[in-house]
């Protein structure tokens, strides 16, 4: 006799289940179960993964949920109580009702509602009962909850509640659920349930109330119980499970358990056959775009595309002509119409149109840039025809997936405007953000498990610190070694148990977050497709599924991503307009700006998008970009794909003419010609499969996905066979075939789409252009959008100063909240904004600017009186960083007709007076003049105050003040080492501005030191890193000794000795990439 488990929770019940859906399905498969149902608590979070995993394994996946219902006092004559009613979805109506019911429950309480607040009423359940099948539940079900009451009439009340359930769901849709976990009380309750079922002619249904796939996971379930109840294992007592029986059991085991009630087992199969709904039958429709009268979506899209294409494909400045673009556009439009995607394109166009009209900078990224239709509609900025990009990477008929259009928007308020536009356009229940499932990983897992095991705070910190933060993981860095280094003995049972549990909880869902930009839109009500819930951020709604789940189930989404550089570009354009009186159009930047390419070739790229990292900088002088396509290559080449696939060096050597350009096969020449015979882009991989193995566009994309991140052995093998067959058919055999297969299989994992690289290269060029031509505006915009990019504001300012920018200090008489541009004669200079005063709230900063706009401040007293928002500590901070010096000077006494010299301490002295009310009695007695008895700050004190108060200094670089000492130590300046020969033994010293230990660098660490003349790059070998770990990681100023490496003007020092320096007391923190 067969058995189907119809009541199982996964870890998506958040702390009430201990196995992920895939694990449950794998166990069901092993037990040869034909179907299984997932009933998570108040949600269908795990449903897509459960469904897809079941589908992959030919299992039937039933869905449902345990719904928390609250009954009032008047119902069933019992005091108010809550219980969990398990419901199974019978048909699509049932699924829609379930989603709406859960949405109703979730949307009326805030994101972090207390347990017990997130409930539905009996009436609400009644209104959504159609299409659902109800089980009487286990220990927390409605019948058990009533039977557990200490009430002599509890049986009568249980009968009443059962009658109510029958009335609600219909007699055929209520099953008396029986579970047997070898528990006396449960069995006593089962007897009563059987009696009630017989009395009401209800079918019995055996389930196991599964909480984990295998019994070993009971320990995780117990730990989760502790986390949920904020207790330790030692004190949890009877909150913990009585035994480990809630695992997925085989048909034989269940039959044995229910040997006296065979019908309870048989009914599971019968009920399973009644549950027709699966997620295949989701009923999702993408919203239709409202088109003008007389138009269809198809005609309207055609019209818009044609209009766009005519204006964009002008044939001018090297652009293709409309006639040349037309066949490709036509091909794309036909496919779009065939796949009924017109609405999607129109909706994305509409968002882009809104952004343009609202003055929000927007640009499509990713594979959408392969589409000429997207380009014509203004969604993307890269011309796929001019750049010969492959459309199939974006959309293909065979793939059966929705296309993915990602829109880059300026991060912050502007992006929020676009998101709120989508909400307002499609309704709160018509659009929602995709979720981001936060899982137990690293430190969070270590802390929570450690707490449950009752480790003290010190041990918890040590355990959490064991979790490696660097991207690179030393192969010798075994867990045992890590534990031993932290002084923890893995042979000790409690530590060993911690280690086991720590591994078991890895990747289990912890809570639901919000994806940064993915939005799902639906025709009609999205809450009937997937339950919605509020996000932590006000005004945001999220679906219960993450981005991958939505994509897997065919929910179309638009990614509205915030990009710091977009905000910088937008702000730069505004600043240029306001200060230079010039209009910069990003779409029409001069294509071959000499300054841009010179800067790129010299790797003078601090602040430039995508090309500012240490690795990019070390590659730029070798690649020496000379045209836009070189920037595209530059953006794509420093990626794990080319690095792991050993493509970087061959490409650079071929570019420098040190290696001949050869092709594995002549058929590859047209594909790889642009990249000198080295595959760098995903599109090339697809073309290789298409041209050399006869794959269609869709098949090639399928190949890329098979070898991509979600690789499965079986799928890879199957497609590799097909690839080899295709290659053989085309006469490519032997070594050449092997080479091609190897290139495709190793590259598919990390490859970067050319279209995406081209979109990013546009932004890189734009940022480089603005930096080279409008340094003041660009630097101001960069500073106003921090934190972003690779470098700290201090480094950005020092770099701009080295390029001749004059930076003015924060001054309360003229600084705005943001950094602004002032004119000194005709020369634009940068004025630092009040936002850089650490600890000054935006509210206070803006209040200062508002008050100043009315009239200038007459003194610190006046400032205090007119800006009541300013707190005492804020005034102190302003005075300490010198922002009040000028107000003092303006208001202070004059000596021989000149304003008396004022300094920060004068301001501090006055601030203390004005912030403390003396009272009327003493008003006359106390001093009124601004003279202070305090000494002026010394130079070191000023730098110290600058770093502490603003995180930067506009004066000389801190290292410059210590140059005499560094000279004694024979440390060279960054600028000096450029003149030395390769192999020279040098000493350099400076402030560490970045540390990196990338996963692809085999344990090497890369550091950037900055001094008053620029930056020097340091390479630290794994051995040296282990030797000087503390110095390298923990000190801000370092003296490095080592051999100079000068390869093609890429200068670096291979460190052989490290010495920490104590130069000044305060600095800005370095930017460490782990």
């Amino acid at each position: 006799m067969s058995y189907v488990e119809l009541h199982a929770r996964s870890a998506f019940s958040f702390l009430e289940g201990a196995s992920v859906p895939e694990e449950l399905i794998a166990a069901a498969l092993q037990l040869q179960m034909p179907a299984m149902a997932l009933l998570d608590r108040d949600g269908v979070y795990g449903a897509p993964r459960f469904h897809l995993s079941a589908k992959k394994n030919d299992l039937k996946a039933h869905l449902g949920a345990e719904i928390t219902v609250q009954f009032h006092n008047s119902q069933f004559a019992i005091p108010q109580f809550q219980c969990a009613i398990p419901v199974l979805v019978k048909n699509r109506q049932g699924y829609q009702n379930l989603c709406r019911l859960i949405t109703l429950m979730k949307m009326r309480v805030p994101k972090h509602a207390k347990p017990g607040e997130c409930v539905v009423s009996a009436e609400e359940l009644a209104a959504h009962a159609a299409g659902l099948i109800c089980l009487t539940g286990s220990f927390d079900g409605p019948v058990a909850t009533v039977l557990n009451q200490r009430d002599p009439d509890n049986e009568k009340k249980a009968q009443k509640i059962l009658e109510w359930l029958i009335e609600l769901f219909g007699k055929k849709n209520v099953y008396a659920e029986l579970q047997r976990h070898f528990d006396r009380e449960e069995e006593a309750r089962n007897h009563l349930v059987i009696e009630l079922a017989r009395r009401n002619h209800l079918p019995l249904l055996a389930t196991n109330g599964v909480c984990y796939a295998m019994s070993v996971r009971r320990e995780v379930a117990d730990v989760f119980t502790c986390i949920r109840n904020h207790v330790r294992l030692e004190t949890a007592g009877r909150l913990l499970a009585q035994n480990s029986e809630r695992y997925l059991k085989s048909a034989a085991t269940m039959q044995k358990l229910f040997a006296d009630l065979p019908e309870a087992i048989a009914n599971t199969v019968e009920l399973s056959s009644r549950l027709k709904f699966t997620l295949e039958d989701l009923g999702y429709e993408f919203p239709k775009y409202p088109v003008p009268h007389g138009e269809t979506m198809t005609s309207y899209l055609r019209k818009l595309t044609e209009e766009g294409a005519r204006s964009r494909y002008t044939g001018k400045r090297g652009m293709p002509t409309y006639e040349r673009a037309r066949p490709q556009i036509e091909r794309e439009l036909k496919l779009i119409e065939k796949l009924k995607l017109e609405g999607y394109f129109l909706i994305v166009w509409d968002i882009v149109r809104f952004c343009r009209e609202a003055g929000i900078l927007v640009q499509g990224r990713g594979s959408a840039a392969n589409s000429a239709v997207c380009y014509s509609l203004g969604i993307t900025a890269v011309d796929p025809i001019g750049m010969d990009l492959l459309f199939e990477r974006f959309l293909s008929e065979e793939r059966g997936e929705w296309p993915d259009i990602d829109l880059d928007l300026p991060s912050g308020d502007q992006r929020e405007k676009a998101i709120q536009y989508v909400y307002s356009r499609y309704g709160k229940l018509g659009a929602a953000m995709t979720a981001n499932v936060i899982t137990y990983r690293g430190r969070s897992a270590a802390r929570e498990v450690g707490k449950a095991l009752d480790f003290d705070e010190e041990t918890l910190s040590r355990l959490a610190s064991l979790v490696h933060t660097w991207e690179w993981k030393d192969p010798n860095d075994s867990s045992e070694r890590q534990f031993r280094d932290a002084g923890l003995d893995l042979h000790q049972p409690r530590i060993r148990k911690f280690f086991q549990l720590y591994q078991l909880v890895q990747d289990l869902p912890r809570h639901l977050g919000q994806h940064s930009g993915g939005m799902v839109i639906c025709q009609g009500q999205l809450d009937s497709i997937v339950p919605l819930e509020p996000a932590a951020m006000p005004g945001r709604v999220v679906v219960q599924w993450d981005k991958e789940d939505c994509a897997d189930l065919g929910l179309i989404k638009v990614d509205l991503l915030g990009l710091g550089m977009m905000a910088v570009l937008e702000d730069s354009i505004k600043l240029i307009r306001d200060s230079y009186g010039e209009e910069v159009d990003l779409a029409h930047l001069p294509p071959n700006d000499q300054g841009v390419y010179e800067a790129l070739q010299k790797a003078d790229t601090i602040g430039m998008f995508q090309v500012e990292s240490r690795a990019q900088m070390s590659c730029l002088p070798r690649l020496r970009p000379a045209c836009f396509y070189d920037i595209v290559v530059q953006v794509a080449i420093i990626r794990p794909g080319p690095i792991v696939g050993n493509m970087v060096h061959p490409y650079l050597k071929r570019r420098q003419g040190r290696e001949p350009v050869i092709y594995a096969h002549k058929a590859l020449e047209p594909i790889l010609k642009r990249t000198l015979g080295v595959p760098l882009f995903q599109e090339q991989l697809l073309r290789m499969a298409m041209d050399c193995a006869g794959f269609t566009g869709g098949e090639a994309e399928e190949l890329r996905r098979a070898f991509g991140f979600k690789r499965s052995e079986a799928r890879m093998k199957a497609i590799e066979v097909k690839l080899r067959q295709g290659l053989t058919r085309k006469g490519i055999t032997g070594k050449t075939q092997e080479e091609i297969v190897l290139a495709i299989s190793s590259f598919a994992l990390y490859g970067f789409p050319e279209s995406h690289a081209a979109s990013f290269a546009l932004l890189a060029y734009a940022s480089a252009y603005l930096k080279c031509n409008y340094l003041t505006a660009f630097t101001a915009a960069m500073l106003n959008n921090q934190p972003m990019g690779f470098y700290q504001p201090f480094t950005l300012i020092k770099d701009a100063q080295r390029h001749g920018l004059r930076v003015l200090p924060i001054d309360i008489t003229c600084s705005d909240w943001l950094c602004t541009i002032e004119k000194e004669g005709e020369v634009p200079v940068l004025r630092l904004g009040l936002r850089y005063v650490k600890g000054l709230s935006q509210q206070s900063g803006q209040a200062i600017v508002r008050a100043r706009a009315v009239r200038d401040f007459a003194g610190i007293d006046d400032l205090r009186n007119r800006v009541p928002e300013l707190r005492k500590d804020e005034m102190r901070k302003l005075a300490a960083v010198g922002a009040l010096n000028f107000i003092q000077a303006a208001a202070g006494p004059t000596i021989k007709g000149r304003k008396a010299k004022t300094h920060r301490r004068d301001a501090l002295w006055q601030v203390e007076r004005v912030t403390r009310a003396a009272g009327e009695l003493y008003e006359e007695l106390l001093e009124q003049d601004g003279n202070s008895p305090l000494q002026q700050m010394s130079l070191t004190e000023r730098i110290d105050a600058d770093f502490r108060g603003t995180g930067l200094t506009i004066g000389k670089h801190p290292v410059a003040y210590h140059r005499p000492e560094l000279n004694k130590l024979k440390a060279l300046r960054a600028i000096d080492i450029h003149k030395l020969r390769n192999g020279t033994f040098v000493r350099v010293a400076g402030w560490v501005i970045a540390r990196q230990r990338p996963g692809t660098a085999k344990g090497f660490m890369f550091m950037t030191l900055e001094d008053e003349t620029g930056v020097s790059n340091i390479i630290v070998t794994p051995d040296l890193f282990n030797q000087y770990r503390l110095e390298l990681v923990g000190h801000s100023f370092l003296l490095i000794e080592g051999a100079l490496q000068n390869q093609d003007n890429v200068i670096s020092v291979k460190a052989s000795h490290v010495q920490p320096l104590s130069l000044v007391t305060a600095t800005a923190p370095s930017h460490d990439f782990h």
Partner: protein, 452 residues
């Protein structure tokens, strides 16, 4: 004039006791810093400067000669705080001339200013010091030389106080502490005592004195700590916890003797020391119509006698532990319940019985009987178990189970067992209901008890 003695001395020595050698008027400002009022000491030690030298000399002496075996700094000043600052900052003997405080203290870093001397709260003091640092005030002199009105205007009275402190101008009295009452007595024996009876003659006077001291302060104790140095150079320690505060030395003596009898020292005793933690005595008003309960001290004695007979672990009130572990309980010290407690309990039991749940009484076999069980199709069929007092054997005619409990998996003593409720028919055809269980890790069977 005031002399401040400052030094790092070992934990078992008291700087305060040392300072009492010079003057009865002392203030222990903090551990390691003591201030003496030297006025009136001239006849004994000469001038203040001579006294300071004497202090340093004596401090360097070995402890057997009343010294501290340590170097201390001594500073003499016209006010205690200037002396404290000077002694804590400067080594050796320092004489701060009256009116010249700033000459001596002026160069001290401002971080060394101790705001607690003028009772300024730490938070306010930290904020003030932070402001001073912002002002570039680095030393006591920098601070002292700021205009008082300016400081008062900006930092308020706290600022002024601190400024005076920095200038060495604060005048105040010493905070003199009375020596704390001692609630411990000890005796060094001439000859080691190996038997209990003579020991009672040692305990008696010690407890007598202790109770007299408690009486004098109208206090009692609920804990006696006994420490004995033994001949084998080990230390014997016992702690007697009493349910109520008491101060009857006779009861203490009996309790102590019973305890020592139960836990005799391993070797002969060389010294005895008894201490207690003083607490407020218990005040109890008995009701007129409340039946008399045994007096707490007598009850305690009876319990101690019983504990001696049956062992400490086996006496008290059992309390159930919050766990699924079967038969998990611990023994709590028996205490008399008050009237209201018993009323509450009665009410609860009445309510429970009103629910009318039928329960079978269960008698535990302690320890459980090891059993041989014949299993058929995974179920017990025949049982034989013999113990000293009882035996169970027969055919299982009816059963229910298994009831499985497993837990404490994170500990060494985890458990896992299957329980069965079985009806056993003996040869005499008499049927009895038992609970048997099998330990899952050892596969061993036991009879846990029978149902009434």
């Amino acid at each position: 004039m005031f002399a401040c003695i400052h030094g790092q001395i070992s934990a078992d020595l008291s700087l305060r006791e040392f300072a009492y050698n010079f003057s009865p008027t002392i203030e222990e400002t903090r551990p390691g810093t003591v201030v003496i009022d030297v006025d009136g000491c001239e006849l004994l030690f000469g001038s203040a400067y001579q006294l300071a030298n004497e202090v340093t000399l004596r401090a360097a002496r070995p402890r057997v000669q009343g010294g501290l075996e340590s170097t201390v700094s001594v500073a003499i000043a016209a006010n205690p705080d200037a002396a404290i600052h000077a002694a804590t900052r400067l080594k050796g003997v320092t004489f701060v001339s009256p009116g010249e405080e700033l000459t001596c203290l002026g160069e001290f870093p401002i971080d060394h200013l101790d705001p607690s001397l003028v009772n300024v709260e730490k938070e306010i003091a930290d904020e003030t010091l932070e402001t001073l640092k912002l002002w570039g005030v680095r030393t006591f002199a920098d601070f002292a030389l700021l205009p008082v009105a300016g400081v008062s205007e900006r930092l308020g009275q706290v600022g002024v106080k601190l400024q005076q402190l920095a200038a060495g101008k604060i005048e105040r009295h010493l905070k003199i502490e009375q020596p704390a009452p001692v609630f411990s007595n000890s005796i060094q024996l001439d000859h080691p005592i190996a038997e209990l009876e003579p020991l009672s003659f040692i305990f008696n006077p010690l407890l007598n004195q202790l109770c007299a001291a408690l009486n004098a302060y109208a206090l009692a104790t609920n804990e006696l700590c006994v420490e004995m140095q033994l001949e084998d150079r080990t230390v014997y320690q016992r702690r007697l916890t009493l349910p109520y505060p008491m101060r009857d030395h006779k009861v203490f003596l009996k309790l102590l003797l019973l305890d020592t009898e139960m836990h005799p020292p391993q070797a002969a005793v060389r010294s005895v020391s008894i201490a207690c933690e003083p607490v407020k005595p218990r005040v109890l008003q008995n009701g007129l119509f409340v039946p008399l309960a045994p007096a707490p001290d007598k009850l305690e004695l009876t319990l101690a006698r019983l504990a001696k007979l049956v062992g400490e672990q086996n006496i008290g009130s059992p309390t159930l532990l919050d766990t699924h572990r079967p038969d998990a309980f611990n023994m709590k010290h028996f205490t008399l319940t008050t009237d209201s407690d018993s009323r509450k309990r009665k009410k609860k039991s009445n309510r429970q019985s009103a629910i009318g749940r039928q329960c079978l009484g269960f008698r535990m076999f302690r320890p459980p009987l090891r059993a041989l069980v014949q299993v058929e199709q995974g179920r017990p069929a025949q049982i034989s178990a013999w113990g000293r007092q009882r035996s169970v054997y027969g055919k299982v005619v009816k059963l229910s189970g298994p009831w499985r409990t497993t837990g404490d998996w994170w500990r060494d003593n985890s458990w896992a067992r299957d329980e069965w409720d079985v009806m056993v028919e003996q040869r005499s055809k008499q049927q009895s209901l038992y609970r048997i269980y099998r330990e899952l890790d050892t596969e061993a069977w036991f009879v846990e008890g029978n149902y009434d």
